[in-house]
């Protein structure tokens, strides 16, 4: 594929650190995150921002882990804003004191996305393995007080999906402009906990009905995004709008990835921003070129009339469920291995295992070290 056919990486996601005060059971950070030791320096990040902007990136996400744990966050925000990025802070809210919020506002931060785990203190605190519910409420007020648009993000699954009605009401009361009800994507920690997290079809139907009612009630006051659950839909979705088409993720140690979780894929070397420019990485690296477009496809994708629509779905899901990153995403009903997804959904219909039989695995350094392959 020639570089002229490849558009710019519009979305630069800077995962500043894997350190996090929360231990969410659905986190998409790699299960072996605790092995990452050497975070990029401030200067490395400023260079990455400049190189991304030169390529045409306009959105800069500052994420993690918890990005507020970087004490150079204000410096990074200020440079991103100066370069002309729209700057998005993706945070649990832990550490967003009024003082820090004022400093980030002064640095030019454009928007804050605040994650909530549930509308109830009990479930929020249980799912994140912390006591943070009251704090998140205070932080939401701080965000509004700074005049930032607020996106509230709630990862949806079996244990909180029945609270969707209350979650939407809570987001509206807090003055969120956007609410993302993100059905869990089953990678990393969420994949470990999949059997406890997959909702039933009836739960999903009710949640979608609640969402439709609230959309009518709220109109343009608050936009609600309902991220489709691909396990239940039987339709694969484009990986981050197309592998290497607009999304560039840089992990805390500088590895550049075409999606949040691509590092799990075997047989692919992903470049590091310490050794390569973003231009080389985006246009020339094997890691970004391997699954661009449709040239890598095999059956049933290669002859499918939907191949340009879904681009074969998610490569990580293909690897996790079919052990082949070039296979059709098994969430697709046309995949010969779709039964593996159907069986997981059927188990969800039959009832989740009792937590004592199959305990939830919280995302924390101890579990990460226990679960990571020895290396």
């Amino acid at each position: 594929m020639s570089s002229t056919a490849i558009g710019p990486p519009l979305w630069l996601l800077a995962e500043l650190t894997y350190r996090c005060p929360l231990h969410c059971v659905f986190c998409y950070n790699p299960v072996d995150f605790a092995q990452t030791q050497n975070e990029l320096s401030t200067d490395d990040w400023l260079r990455v921002l400049r190189e991304g902007r030169e390529l045409g990136a306009v959105q800069c996400g500052l994420s993690g882990g918890e990005p507020l744990l970087r004490d150079d966050l204000e410096i990074i925000v200020a440079e991103a804003r100066r370069l002309g990025y729209y700057t998005n802070l993706l945070t649990s809210g832990v550490g967003l004191t009024p003082e820090r919020a004022a400093a980030l506002k002064a640095a030019g931060l454009d928007h804050v996305q605040l994650s909530f785990q549930d509308s109830t203190r009990e479930m929020n605190d249980f799912l994140s393995h912390t006591k943070t519910f009251e704090l998140k409420n205070r932080v939401a007020a701080t965000i509004k007080g700074q005049g930032w648009p607020m996106v509230m993000n709630v990862v949806i699954h079996r244990m909180n999906i029945d609270h969707v009605d209350r979650i939407i009401e809570m987001a509206a009361e807090m003055g969120a402009e956007y609410l993302e009800l993100a059905n869990t994507q089953y990678y990393s920690w969420a994949y470990l906990n999949r059997d406890q997290l997959l909702p039933t079809r009836e739960q999903l139907r009710r949640a979608e009905a609640s969402t439709a009612l609230w959309r009518e009630r709220l109109g343009e006051r608050m936009r609600i995004f309902f991220v489709a659950p691909d396990y239940h839909d039987g339709r694969p979705k484009k990986c981050v709008n197309g592998w290497g088409s607009m999304f560039l993720n840089v992990t805390p140690d500088g590895t550049a990835l075409p999606c949040h979780t691509a590092k799990m894929l075997p047989g692919l070397a992903f470049p590091n921003v310490r050794e390569h420019s973003l231009r080389e990485i985006w246009f020339e690296s094997e890691g970004f070129n391997r699954y661009r477009g449709t040239g890598w496809m095999k059956e049933p994708c290669v002859s499918c009339d939907q191949r340009e629509v879904d681009l074969g779905g998610c490569r990580c899901q293909a690897y996790m469920l079919a052990q082949d990153p070039a296979a059709a995403d098994p969430v697709c009903v046309k995949s010969p291995l779709h039964h593996r997804v159907a069986e997981a959904v059927a188990r969800a219909e039959a009832g989740a295992p009792a937590l004592t039989e199959h305990p939830l695995v919280f995302r924390d350094p101890a579990n990460s070290r226990r679960l990571a392959p020895a290396g």
Partner: protein
């Protein structure tokens, strides 16, 4: 927001940012995690929406800049649509 009239003074809505993007060769509106690419005429209208100029003044300015007449309907239609999408607000 009040009903749109030719004396309304639209400005960019909170949370949105208008800028020229060389890589896109057009004006864009940036908002949380998103971008709207504006076509030429939308770009010409919206860059004049500074909260000071009225719709009537914007129309007059555009008609002069492009030696055109009768643009008021198009400008009002765009500003109304942009208001529904919260790209623009007015008192």
């Amino acid at each position: 927001m009040t009903a749109l009239t030719s004396s309304s003074q639209p400005r960019i809505g909170p949370g949105f940012r208008l800028q020229w993007e060389a890589a896109q060769d057009c004006h864009v509106l940036l908002y949380p995690e998103g971008m709207v690419k504006l076509n030429g005429s939308a770009g010409h209208i919206i860059q004049r929406c500074d909260g000071e100029r009225s719709v009537a003044a914007i129309v007059a300015d555009l008609e002069q800049a492009f030696s055109a007449q009768g643009l008021e309907g198009d400008v009002l239609a765009f500003v109304r649509m942009a208001g529904e999408k919260r790209w623009l607000v007015w008192a």
